[in-house]
């Protein structure tokens, strides 16, 4: 699913609420049948979040970062999954380097690895393609397709409409905090969608 909207529409806020990082001012949220305010801890096991901040410790190596998060998610820190995942995101060779030596693109790759480490069934991505070079964009697209194929629900936000159309099965437009448009993307072509979008977000 892709969520688009102008700045200030509330995309990040919505994602943060779904990720249990923020509280809604009213109403309740359910993810996978679990109410977030009462079953928060259980829900967190199944939710992955990619923020526009990297959530990585600069003073640890890439591998140490992932092993730490493994522990925090009750996973086996010595599992081969950590190294495999690092290789999958293209950081296999840099796994013993401190994150502070990484470029923006490399940090984003590692952040993606962190977000999917615990095999979440819901993956929330806040503007994930920002700052990525073309290879990284390909890597991410392939990874997301793979995850979606495995049954993971993916919700990403972007302000690039073309990206939204190519990424999702469903596109939603958020404006002033309300969902004003929600269609499966097969029914859309870029031009008419652009017109619709402009009209909605006036």
């Amino acid at each position: 699913m892709a969520l688009v909207g102008p700045n200030g529409a509330g995309k990040t806020t919505l994602l943060r609420i779904l990720a249990t990082l923020s509280q809604p001012t009213s109403g309740a949220v359910q993810v996978g049948g679990l109410d977030l305010s009462s079953a928060g801890e259980e829900a967190r096991r199944r939710i992955g979040f990619l923020s526009h901040r990297t959530l990585l410790y600069d003073d640890l190596t890439a591998e140490q970062n992932l092993r730490f998060y493994s522990r925090m998610y009750d996973l086996d820190p010595a599992s081969p999954r950590v190294v495999a995942l690092l290789q999958r995101v293209g950081l296999g060779l840099r796994r013993s380097d401190l994150v502070r030596t990484f470029s923006r693109g490399m940090k984003q790759r590692l952040a993606v690895a962190r977000a999917v480490l615990h095999r979440p069934s819901l993956l929330l991505l806040d503007e994930p393609y920002t700052g990525l070079d073309p290879q990284a964009v390909d890597m991410l697209r392939d990874l997301l397709a793979e995850l979606a194929g495995d049954g993971c629900t993916i919700l990403l936000t972007t302000h690039r409409l073309a990206r939204a159309l190519s990424a999702g099965q469903r596109v939603m437009v958020l404006h002033h905090g309300s969902v004003v448009y929600d269609r499966p993307h097969r029914a859309l072509d870029e031009h008419s969608f652009l017109e619709t979008y402009r009209a909605l977000t006036v």
Partner: protein, 223 residues
Amino acid sequence: MSFLRKVRAIIGKDITAELHTKEMVSAMLVFSALAMLIFSFALDLRGAMAEAAAPGVLWSTIAFAGTLGLSRSMAREEQSGCIDGLLLAPTDRTAIFIGKATGNLVFMTVVEIALLPLFSVLFDVALIRPRILVVLLLGTVGYAAVGTLLAAIAVNTRAREVMLPVLLLPLAIPVLIGAVQATVGLLDGADWGQLGGWIQLLVVYDLVILAVSLLTFEYVVES
């Protein structure tokens, strides 16, 4: 137990990070040495005066150096939004607090242990005695606990690290008075029984502060 494993993970993470850079501990050590020198010069501490002032200077130094470490430790979480990373995980918020506070306690203790020999030499007092170390630990536990809570608050203010001493020091007065007086008593040759009041004060402070911090930490850290 999953809870303890996560606490250990957080402590381990902080220690590993510090081992890579050694920035925080070295800054605290250098600052402390400088503070000691400045106190000695400014107060013209020699001979009997030095011995009388030693406990006070020691604890003042620990208090100020402590604010450096506490700020830095929490700043590490705020940088790159890592605190969100901790909150996203299925972890009890109190585990985060205990992990961070224990890590801070470890760092402060390491700095104190490094300081004591230097202190003993400069001020010509025998500070490396078991009972004095107990007092040191009791005081540091309370200070690190309330310091961790307040650092979590301070890091979210406009003034950031500068806010922490302002918030922390008035609340640390029982520790400062208690620890200094207990140390003075021990140096004068008092035994444990005579110090009862001060030790009780430190223990009560530690317990109360720990309880309040554990209860209120989640309100500080959640958005």
